[in-house]
Symmetry: C2
Subunit: 337 residues, 2 copies
Amino acid sequence: MQDNVIRMAHGNGGILMQKLIQTYFMEAFHNPFLAIAEDQARLPLSYFQTGEKLAFSTDSFVIDPIFFPGGNIGKLAICGTANDIAVSGAIPQFFSCGFILEEGFPLSDLENIIQSMADCAKQAGIQIVTGDTKVVPKGAADKMFINTSGIGVIPRGLNWGMDQIAVGDHILVSGTLGDHGATILNLRENLGIQTDLCSDCAVLSPLIERLRPLAGIKTLRDATRGGVNAVLHEFCFSSQKGMQIYQDKLPIRPEVRGICELLGLEPLNFANEGKLVMIVSADKTAEILTALRSHPLGKNAAHIGEVTAESKVSLIGSFGQSRLLDLPTNEPLPRIC
Amino acid sequence: MQDNVIRMAHGNGGILMQKLIQTYFMEAFHNPFLAIAEDQARLPLSYFQTGEKLAFSTDSFVIDPIFFPGGNIGKLAICGTANDIAVSGAIPQFFSCGFILEEGFPLSDLENIIQSMADCAKQAGIQIVTGDTKVVPKGAADKMFINTSGIGVIPRGLNWGMDQIAVGDHILVSGTLGDHGATILNLRENLGIQTDLCSDCAVLSPLIERLRPLAGIKTLRDATRGGVNAVLHEFCFSSQKGMQIYQDKLPIRPEVRGICELLGLEPLNFANEGKLVMIVSADKTAEILTALRSHPLGKNAAHIGEVTAESKVSLIGSFGQSRLLDLPTNEPLPRIC
């Protein structure tokens, strides 16, 4: 057995596992909570007392390939969970991570991935405070899966949520749609499209920070798996109101359109990993768009539609024709995140 | 494609996935935090203000087979993370769960597993407040993996931890050792040993509750993967003190001894899923053992050794001979938890 790959003994609770944890994880993620090396992180509640509520979220990442233009599975695992927390208005603070590794996985790849996680977390002010590693025999898992769970505090008085959605509200997005999904598909399906396109994988907290002081924000979501379409359906289902968007207002890169046309897929179903879908009061749209566009992560923000009375999700085409947007019943994009 | 198995579309963010979540997860795990169906749970901080610190832990479960005498992967996923939190003295309260499902996985098995999780969590006073589901193509994961992460509060004034360990302290265990590991091996290796042996998989909070008011408790661990041996090595490494235990004092069932002898394995390396290893002040041993034995989960509690000055883990045999206990360098027990 080679020395530079994951071995079953890396998951046995013994010496090799201790070494793996010390050399890779403890080193890259170093912080006082992780360093106590108990079975759980111990977080002083004084860290949280400025807010009223904790936001707590989890996500497992099974993306294939694990390295892609714009990121890797590790960076994605930080961004994905950070964004699920941040859309509540909370500041993501403390993370756990759980690795499932396939026997034979290259240690150098693991190291790169862990370093990406550490860098991304540090930049976002997130501390990885507890973790777990499992190794499964070759063939029992494809390369690696990562779970991250995280905690943040929702500031007092902030009450963003789907229960705030009202008829006449506007629908905004924070930038171009489908970049992540199109990047992964182009790579995986060997479409051969030469492009600078890369995943939009990013922690959205700095952008959301600019929104926190503003009035008129009803609810935020990051549009990942299932794309903008899935988010609009969740909004529709939860609020029992309609979501109407306009084809001509959607910010979609030409390369993403090209990949969609080639594969016969709808870009609104494509995953994003650094894009917000927002419902806002119509009278605050201009102000909120200005705030979004003042940050690099929101520079292509756009107003794409509005909330209507009749509970359905519809797309208005270039010539004014309306069609219902259904949720896909098959899975055109497996292992996209 | 059959209707009664997991399909790729169960993981696409669309209709089938919504249906899966509503029908199985929301139903079984129902609570107000989960019911808001946002991307994160929102937990009022008032839930936490009686304590000083949050305990936060994560664990991924990859056990094979997923059903076994005494439990299944779902029950295990609740017990394992609950125990990692509870050994800090905290009461486990809020859990996340992340599922990675293989295409073709039987829905009836998923339902059973989710129901076990719900039952086990309910009994332990744990609420599952947020979750995530991924589906991977057939062959990319073996059946199912579950990650659970959890939060609890460590009561004010409680300060259990490895930094409390002192020379002369006693080492206790809360019951028979190796039952979980032996059960899984007997099943998986078709050893053909007819036995009533079953996994000790249990949430230990009710037992730990009896310990919380007592003086003299230095630190607690649940001895899972790597067994009592791995825990003693962690204690030894962290405290730089010795851990000396006695062969004749170890509570090990005859069936577990039999399975170990048959396979040439050391029962101290076998996983437990409902057993504590504790370091306590020598003068409080009797009182603590009485408290442990007053609960069904601790009825076979035993004093198995003591903390010594020289940093090593050793086992004293029946004739007084001492041998060093090393950590295994291979992995005799893959996918045990």
